[in-house]
């Protein structure tokens, strides 16, 4: 099936199988930040934006993204860099395997709610599993990031 998907701002026209997932599609087109960590639609590691909404790319057919815009971490490097650097400096994560999905969903949260409180962060990011940090480091990192962002804006 012929699809035309706007991947990270560029039109990609491709002839694909009906059962190809969006996850396989973006990987095929070089977006290797997107990974599949669970096979049960649970871990959030394959998060991409489909028409600006965070979705599990492993659980949606690529044909459904026809004529839609798809964004991966590769497409929002500039927007993500400040947050990613801050989280790394905080030592918030350990192995980093879950990081791309976590960053994508955190960016989605900030776009919807720039200054979330602790409960809002926990709730929005509950679909991003991490098997080594226990989430405390990430939560502390995000809260410090928001605090730093607020202080910067006040200056």
């Amino acid at each position: 099936m012929l699809v035309n998907i706007k991947l990270n701002g560029k039109s990609v026209v491709s002839d694909i199988a009906a059962d190809m997932t969006l996850y396989d599609f973006v990987r095929k087109h070089g977006c290797y930040s997107v990974k599949c960590g669970c096979e049960t639609s649970n871990c959030g590691l394959c998060t991409v934006f489909l028409d600006e909404k965070p979705v599990l790319s492993c659980s949606v057919l690529a044909v459904r993204a026809d004529k839609c815009s798809v964004t991966t971490l590769e497409g929002i490097q500039e927007e993500a860099s400040e947050f990613v650097t801050f989280i790394a400096d905080q030592g918030a994560e350990q192995c980093g395997f879950c990081n791309p999905g976590f960053v994508m969903n955190a960016i989605a949260l900030f776009r919807e709610n720039p200054y979330p409180d602790e409960n809002e962060i926990r709730e929005f990011l509950s679909g991003n599993l991490c098997r080594c940090s226990g989430y405390e480091g990430q939560l502390r990192g995000i809260l410090n990031y928001i605090k730093a962002k607020k202080e910067k804006e006040l200056q």
Binding site: M1, A17, A18, D19, T21, E39, T40, S41, N42, G44, T47, L50, K53, P54, V55, L56, C58, S59, V60, L61, V63, R64, D66, N105, A108, E123, F124, L125, S126, G127, N128
Partner: protein, 263 residues
């Protein structure tokens, strides 16, 4: 592994209905759980081009299109106001935002899953399913039926004045629930619905066989009805909890629901 030969984004419900009469064709809602099966689908039928992804609200009812996502329903101001925030409470624990941005209300209702928070929430209210061929069917009746080839077009929730309570017990956040409970008191009749799901069977409204609540909700009738639910609601055991544990939870949540909807 999921295997799909063809994919058709239909242009009308008639086209979808015709395609759906063939055994090997299937409607894909959000597709969430389908990928975990080992099924071979000849034609995947996609309803996403039919504008059924809207929640319409008027003075009498909410009309929820079958392709509305769980996230759309969760953050809908009008529906949250009507249910006293119960819709958000019921849906926010389901996996994650990314999952709920794909999973559809129609898919959840058609699946009639035992663990479904969506089914528990909506059966508790005065809800109906609008089927393409058959027309409007009470959701409680639809939930008890076996799967057929008709198509869910909308879910209709009548706007009767309600006090509502919702709580689900989970072993850990984002897991499937051990037990779900929706309590609804209809202000126009004074009657209550206590709906329990994840028993682990599908959600049912507990029938007040002995008219315990018919003379009103009081401390005494709450205790009696909670005890009745604990002893009589059919429950079973699975990896998330034993039948005895679920029965105990059913009694506790019933009591909590009745206390809250009577405030």
């Amino acid at each position: 592994m999921l295997n799909i030969q063809n994919y058709i984004k239909v242009e009308s419900l008639d086209e979808a209905y015709e395609l759906n009469q063939k055994k090997n064709n299937k409607i894909i809602g959000g597709m969430m759980w389908m990928r975990m099966g080992d099924s071979r689908i000849n034609t995947a039928i996609d309803l996403s081009g039919l504008g059924l992804d809207k929640i319409e609200e008027n003075d009498d009812e909410f009309r929820i299109g079958c392709m509305v996502t769980l996230r759309q329903l969760e953050v809908h101001d009008g529906f949250n106001q009507y249910t006293g925030g119960c819709v958000k409470e019921a849906l926010r624990h389901i996996v994650g935002v990314q999952f709920r941005n794909l999973a559809t209300v129609g898919g959840s209702i058609f699946g009639r899953y035992g663990f479904s928070d969506v089914l528990t929430l909506l059966i508790g209210l005065d809800s109906y399913v609008e089927l393409y061929k058959e027309g409007i069917v009470r959701l409680e009746d639809y939930a008890g039926r076996s799967y057929d080839n008709d198509i869910i077009v909308n879910i209709i929730v009548k706007k009767r004045p309600v006090h509502m309570f919702y709580e689900a017990v989970r072993i850990t956040e984002t897991d499937l629930p051990v037990l779900t409970c929706a309590g609804v008191k209809f202000a126009d009749t004074g009657l209550c619905n206590i709906c329990i799901g994840a028993r682990p069977g599908k959600a049912v409204i507990v029938k007040d066989t002995y008219d315990i609540l018919s003379s009103g909700i009081s401390e005494e009738s709450i205790e009696k009805f909670a005890d009745f639910v604990e002893k009589n609601l059919p429950t079973q055991g699975n990896m998330r909890g034993s039948a005895g544990y679920r029965s105990h939870l059913a009694g506790v949540l019933t009591k909590r629901a009745l206390i809250n909807i009577n405030k």
